[in-house]
Symmetry: D2
Amino acid sequence: MNFMSDNVSGAAPEILAALGEASAAGPMPSYGADPVTARLHDRMTALFGTPVTVFPVATGTAANALALSALTPPYGAVYCHAEAHINVDECGAPEMFTDGAKLIPLPGAQGKLTPQGLADALARAPVGFVHAVQPAALSLTQATEAGTVYTPDEVAALCAVAKRHGLKVHMDGARFANAVASLGCDPAEVTWRAGVDVLSFGATKNGALAAEAVVFFDRALAESFGYRRKRAGHLFSKMRFLSAQLDACLADGLWLRLAGHANAMAQMLGAGLAALPGAALRAPVEANEVFVELPETVTEGLLERGFQFYRWDGAVVRLVTAWNTRAEDVAALVAAARELASGTPAGGSEKKA
Amino acid sequence: MNFMSDNVSGAAPEILAALGEASAAGPMPSYGADPVTARLHDRMTALFGTPVTVFPVATGTAANALALSALTPPYGAVYCHAEAHINVDECGAPEMFTDGAKLIPLPGAQGKLTPQGLADALARAPVGFVHAVQPAALSLTQATEAGTVYTPDEVAALCAVAKRHGLKVHMDGARFANAVASLGCDPAEVTWRAGVDVLSFGATKNGALAAEAVVFFDRALAESFGYRRKRAGHLFSKMRFLSAQLDACLADGLWLRLAGHANAMAQMLGAGLAALPGAALRAPVEANEVFVELPETVTEGLLERGFQFYRWDGAVVRLVTAWNTRAEDVAALVAAARELASGTPAGGSEKKA
Amino acid sequence: MNFMSDNVSGAAPEILAALGEASAAGPMPSYGADPVTARLHDRMTALFGTPVTVFPVATGTAANALALSALTPPYGAVYCHAEAHINVDECGAPEMFTDGAKLIPLPGAQGKLTPQGLADALARAPVGFVHAVQPAALSLTQATEAGTVYTPDEVAALCAVAKRHGLKVHMDGARFANAVASLGCDPAEVTWRAGVDVLSFGATKNGALAAEAVVFFDRALAESFGYRRKRAGHLFSKMRFLSAQLDACLADGLWLRLAGHANAMAQMLGAGLAALPGAALRAPVEANEVFVELPETVTEGLLERGFQFYRWDGAVVRLVTAWNTRAEDVAALVAAARELASGTPAGGSEKKA
Amino acid sequence: MNFMSDNVSGAAPEILAALGEASAAGPMPSYGADPVTARLHDRMTALFGTPVTVFPVATGTAANALALSALTPPYGAVYCHAEAHINVDECGAPEMFTDGAKLIPLPGAQGKLTPQGLADALARAPVGFVHAVQPAALSLTQATEAGTVYTPDEVAALCAVAKRHGLKVHMDGARFANAVASLGCDPAEVTWRAGVDVLSFGATKNGALAAEAVVFFDRALAESFGYRRKRAGHLFSKMRFLSAQLDACLADGLWLRLAGHANAMAQMLGAGLAALPGAALRAPVEANEVFVELPETVTEGLLERGFQFYRWDGAVVRLVTAWNTRAEDVAALVAAARELASGTPAGGSEKKA
């Protein structure tokens, strides 16, 4: 049973079926001038209740780095959480795509930036000082890298600080579906109405094969994006196959159903593990990731029994659920952990010495 | 009936089926550590009869620009045909990925570079002169942009010149399958045995949804490629879905069957049109593209009747066939053209005045 | 006697003296907030009769590449003469500074672009086509690489074409002084009044140690320049020493006196050599460079006698004069050439056969 | 009296004289093939007691960013102090020149990195993990940004950690002369013998107009540098004028005399201010910078009386001395400060509350 990541899973049947349909529909204009992409645009516009410009790409790193390249000059600074994917997991893609803009990592408990922390950092920024990169953008991750979720008010408060300083706002929504499913809110509320200018709308982790949408709410910012996407090799000739995945996600609310399931599995997993003696959640489980400190014997025992997940940091492990995680697998893991925890001899911690 | 490009077509059933199978196989490690990708490696090694390092990506532009970035320093020069895709159709992707290397476009009849032309250009190159970019790589397109195909001897002769000057050799094989099907040769003969160091092995135009493989024959050059692919946003988390497409292509020789069909349709189309009064092929039809000069009344009449293709250059039009082009559609187009040609009044050319 | 280039010469005494004065003036704010730089701004504004924004840098390559980076997006195309310094002598600096924009080299007799040639190239440019770099700027070289000079009308005609297509115009004026001295016109006439947006105003070749000014006539384009200059390492801390060189050039018309002298020496050289049997100027001598075809015995003889200059292309040699070229040295070279030419047997040209 | 920076001062007479001599010496080959540059190479080799490859450039930012570009791939990580010039004062030049490598800022008291801090950071680095930039280089600043100086042993200990992890080592020696004058050691001891691969040898702050030398001890790393310097616009045509400044610095030990004087003035200043009631040095004065916490009335009073220096951080001010700082000016400042301090009412510190 694999809880390593939400990208170890396959694709949802509805999304696979959409690929088949898109293929069977006969010849279509390439590079995005096809009816599937047009339908996706309409659906995104309806979803957010405002006209948007949408660019499908295949990976989250591409979505993020390309989006940022439209928000900052090469001498710009992009503020983000120190643990943000763009800062630690993209091998310098933002720097490459922006031609050298600088990420300014900020601390924040449970994966979240705070308005005060951001305001302090911006107050220190040497605006107009030619020797320093200039504040250009804020990037928020929703859901966060710690498995928590920003409320609409939190997003709005951060965007307000950003806007006061002239920054554009990007949201890395690789797990946006999990965040919205968790909040139960209108997607508009946590994005453009709160001040977000461009969103990386993730689908890959949520049942797609490989599909993300860069959604521009500030459509003027999208002007150069077509060229940027092409020169980065991220313009698909048979665009219908990217658009079909995203379109299937949005149809009938599939994206929220899939994310809601993953979230529910994470809740179950988190609750089960948190109840163990010696266990403690590192952060509230608000999306589909569980960060939990476990006794070493439990961690080791689970791994030995074939459960797969990451050792994260010290005694903390990370378990991720997905659109297709089975409740019985979660139950099996929790049961095994319970067994291991109850059998933990007093000397269990000696192993670590 | 759409002859605009080989990317207006959908995906081959075998390839779609492979996606379904890959998805159904349960959780798999992400980022390429999966069994499908391993199988692809084995198949590519078997296909070329030599150990290769393979990196799947989703677009031809990504494959080409990433491959070149492994072959040239930022102050390097990449020699290519003036009409090469990398020079005119990638919006500066090679320049972006190589951090500013310069493409040196060379002329050449029917889309082909000549050893003499290359040797002359390299003889003029100011090697060691710090004011000029330094010769670093040669990029060949196979099949060419003119629908012709380099023979193994032609490739070898070009590579020999390149190697004599210390250049690495890249082959843009967006239509490599069409070339090999046309030549009927061992793929090794037109690649590494002839001196090619890295190949962009295309599948998208040949029945895949979006899949190309960067195949390194000179495996030392592949060392940095994993990082380069990641920082360009071209590393897929659910890699199995890229690899499965390529794997399905290679299984049972599907790639050559599909390309062979496309080639045959192009032959039929080329022969039919070339036989028309006032028509002339611009280049021999050796792959799946037909470049033919047609009387204006024929061109106009075909477009009016709903046949789709590009006006290319003056009176020349381009028609492209694909893995799923139907013989009856080709026959219909040729018949319509014949009808239009026979009805062409003597004054037909007045229209152009 | 050295006619290799105008950069083999030392610095004019007035300019050296200005460095001493700037140094002796005591502490000054750094990075351009000093009185010498302020005076330079005033002088440049007076010289051009319009408010300008001026950025001193130390090399022509820096001036050109930085200027271009303010005129084009990374997916832009910069049109220039095929022999332009930016295209062949800057080791890819424009590509580096613009993050990958593409130079589009155009042919043109005697180093000059023609309005028709430019218009044709722009007519072929695939504007709005996402697969191709987009026309963004025109770069003219004044005086040209062939030692000729564009008239104000010629500049205006080229700029008119550029502006009609939405391009910005850069002028590489590494030898701008020679051009203006040759034309005898108001500097405004060949620059902003003709449509030039930004000028690389060269001083190094004209008696300075190392100083060029990037002069923005379209001052809005200068907005990001301070950051671009800094991040490229071209912002001098002791700016006074760059500004003083440029300021001394402009004081009392020194720049035109020095350039006028160099031009006169080139005239004398050109006339003397063109009169030789078997010699022919490659282009009219309008600035301080002489491109002349000489019988091989003359070329060889001159080099043997210690005259220094470049063999350029076939039988053509290049000789460059400078602000401090002595008339007696020119006379000596011409006399030696005459002697060698008169000794040339009738069969001298057989060597070339 | 100006204590803002060591770049508010003019140039040393010996260095100005060297420019005049270099100019008067007649024509010289350009781009570094001149005898002055050759002499500089010999002097640098003698100074360091080992063969070095030297590249003169004009600014410290150019020296640093170019040097780093020779040490790291675009997907590399460069470890440095959080306050390093490359991290906070170069507007992203390192990112631009390396095509996007990432600086990893590390903390450290009094401007110094510690071997343990570096070792810990490197232990955390995800080597071989394709999602993260890869450790490539260490950059040390000597003298540091806090006005302190690394001992040879400290440099060696840091380099040892770096080398153990396969990193190359760069030293930003914008104030290298001040460091060596302070240590009284052989320059080799704090550089190549301690493990430094490439040094930015600063002269601008130490009496030159604008001159720094990139000195490669690991000469294999210098291979691409000529091209890198040229494409960044940092290759001077009249190179003699850069080389002459550096050459004059080294002749007769001028560089150490000038730096020694600046250091002595800083000592005097530091001692004088540290003795004031309510004052405290932020770091020991080991080079030519004084960071000292002063009572607000003293700071305010000094500024009112026309002494110029920076407010740095809270109550800390920075004063910098230079090669030409006069002892009487230092004495005047200290006297004024003493006067102001003695008049400080007891409630003076309340302001800070």
